[in-house]
Symmetry: C2
Subunit: 338 residues, 2 copies
């Protein structure tokens, strides 16, 4: 099936050339994709003229990492992020990939791709989209973390839906048969947790297939759970704590390697291995973070992007579309009304 | 000044011989300490008979890592953990060190060493003791994390007091002149955070010297902040996320080193460096976690302890007593009434 992915040519900290080279690599790798390239005319048009299966989506405004996400989405209506999300909503594209501001893509995705609605207190209410990613774990697999930061304050039923959507992502994108779902807490015993997670626990038991109880921060990387669910505050804190710890260890290793002639020799011998390790821990195992709960695939890559990362994100979008991620996420929540 | 430290001989996952060897090493390292050795008669009495400056505190009951902390403290009244805390309360010891169950030592410390009281709504109320530790950071120093897990649900004024106590610990124990205090959130901007942390922010600005704004999970190891304050839920999640990430990297390094002959040679060359790295990241840089807010020094070592760790914990207790940690913590909070 041919899939059309819209890619934000100007998102991220790297120059547009890096993103364009990534798109070129994705087009070469998958003959069944088309790319709608979103960005300023002078950047996207020459590229699309020179490449088959690349179509320009001219977006004169640019939302930067420094912009306030919400107000940028409201005022920069002709930005690549807003037009990319609108292209998905209108069916001009099947998916959108950006390495731009996480906050801006989340805001634009919620506003323009729009979340599913659910029956709540007799009224239709949109569900909260949940920022989801897959982290490498000690069992050699990946663990899904949701929410990574889109919703710092949530209600217990939001947590239930994050869990259902995260499990659908784990089975659909990671191919895990019956994902084991953990509720992030300050201990694994059932009585552990905050008052909030203790309210969530019985709802999770009742409503989430594969719910396996409380888990701890270390279970984001232990491999004991396939999906770890939490509010976006705890999820963001945990994710950034892991990133910080990985940086600390990389620093320590680097200075350790410089310590003596012996360790300098060792450093030369493990150069490739260290590069692989760094890549593995970059947090973009599946192309980036996906916003679950929207009516279209929206994937957010790391701001400090690379040709490989843009290629991976573009291909991951196509993969998610082909795997029917959106329908599977919607059906995981039973009570979706529209 | 001679300091008497009570040490729990049976706390932790290791046999009592390991703890006793640690006590022996501490006695040898510091001629101005005495150790009150708490544990079953057959363990502590022969040791104290053979060592000057070691006094037995016979405690026939043992609280294990598997016991429910609260009920164990209530029922095992003649355990080393309960008797050790009571010895501090009664002035028989100046400080207590245990590598036993964090939950049980926290419960016994709160019940028997007792927290300071503060004027609240016209009544005297005990403050919440806060579990505090110092983690290595990328600037080559240590960052204080409080609360690490004693209080999953707190009020904004608890966060203010954790910050005040954490800053007192940073200046008293780590010797940091004017500690920079960060409020853990999901982003550094002032508008970031949960509804709860947004309520804390203005109180922190008003009441905490050195308050430097919101910080992120990565700031636990960045070195940009000296003290990171949060509720015990987020603190525990972040701490265990860091521990898990360190284990993941150690696993990856180990399997990377086994990958080829070249990397196996490198592994031999960096053996000492890797051992140092592991020690540095063990989280017991200052002997263990201290319960701030109590009327005595209570230090909790890692359960998977070692001779070195028991020695370090015992000496850190003496150091904290000599540095007047308790008085400095009390005076950091201004409104202590008893």
């Amino acid at each position: 099936m041919s899939v059309r992915v819209c890619v934000d040519a100007v998102g991220g900290d790297e120059p547009a050339e890096v993103v364009l080279a990534g798109i070129e690599a994705a087009l070469a790798a998958d003959p069944d994709i088309e790319v709608l390239v979103a960005g300023p005319d002078q950047i996207v048009t020459p590229f699309c003229d020179a490449h088959d299966r690349a179509v320009p989506l001219v977006a004169p405004d640019v939302i930067t990492m420094e912009d306030d996400p919400i107000s940028a989405v409201m005022t920069k209506r002709r930005s690549s992020i807003v037009l990319g999300c609108r292209a998905v909503k209108r069916g001009q594209a099947d998916a959108f990939f950006s390495a731009g501001s996480t906050g801006a893509v989340t805001a634009a995705g919620s506003a323009y791709v729009t979340p599913f609605k659910i029956e709540r207190d007799g009224k239709r209410a949109p569900i909260r989209p949940c920022l989801t990613n897959a982290l490498p774990n000690r069992a050699g697999g990946l663990t899904v973390l949701c929410d990574m930061g889109a919703n710092p304050d949530v209600e217990p039923m939001d947590i239930v839906r994050f869990a259902q959507m995260g499990a659908a992502y784990a089975s659909c994108v990671l191919g895990i048969d019956r994902p084991r779902v953990g509720l992030l807490a300050n201990g694994t015993e059932e009585h552990k947790g905050s008052a909030f997670t203790q309210t969530c626990f019985p709802l999770m038991s009742e409503l989430v297939d594969g719910f396996a109880g409380n888990c701890e921060g270390s279970d984001l990387t232990s491999g004991v759970f396939d999906v770890v669910v939490c509010d976006g505050f705890a999820g963001n804190v945990a994710l950034k704590a892991i990133e910080g710890a990985a940086k600390l260890m990389m620093d320590e290793l680097k200075s350790g390697f410089m310590g003596s002639l012996k360790t300098k020799v060792a450093a030369l011998l493990v150069k490739d291995m260290m590069r692989q390790l760094k890549g593995k821990l970059s947090g973009d195992a599946k192309g980036g973070a996906v916003l679950l709960g929207l009516r279209g695939v929206v994937l957010i890559g790391h701001g400090a992007t690379s040709v490989e990362a843009v290629k991976a994100g573009t291909l991951a979008c196509a993969e998610a579309v082909r795997a029917d991620l959106i329908d599977r996420v919607a059906s995981s929540m039973g009570s979706i009304v529209s």
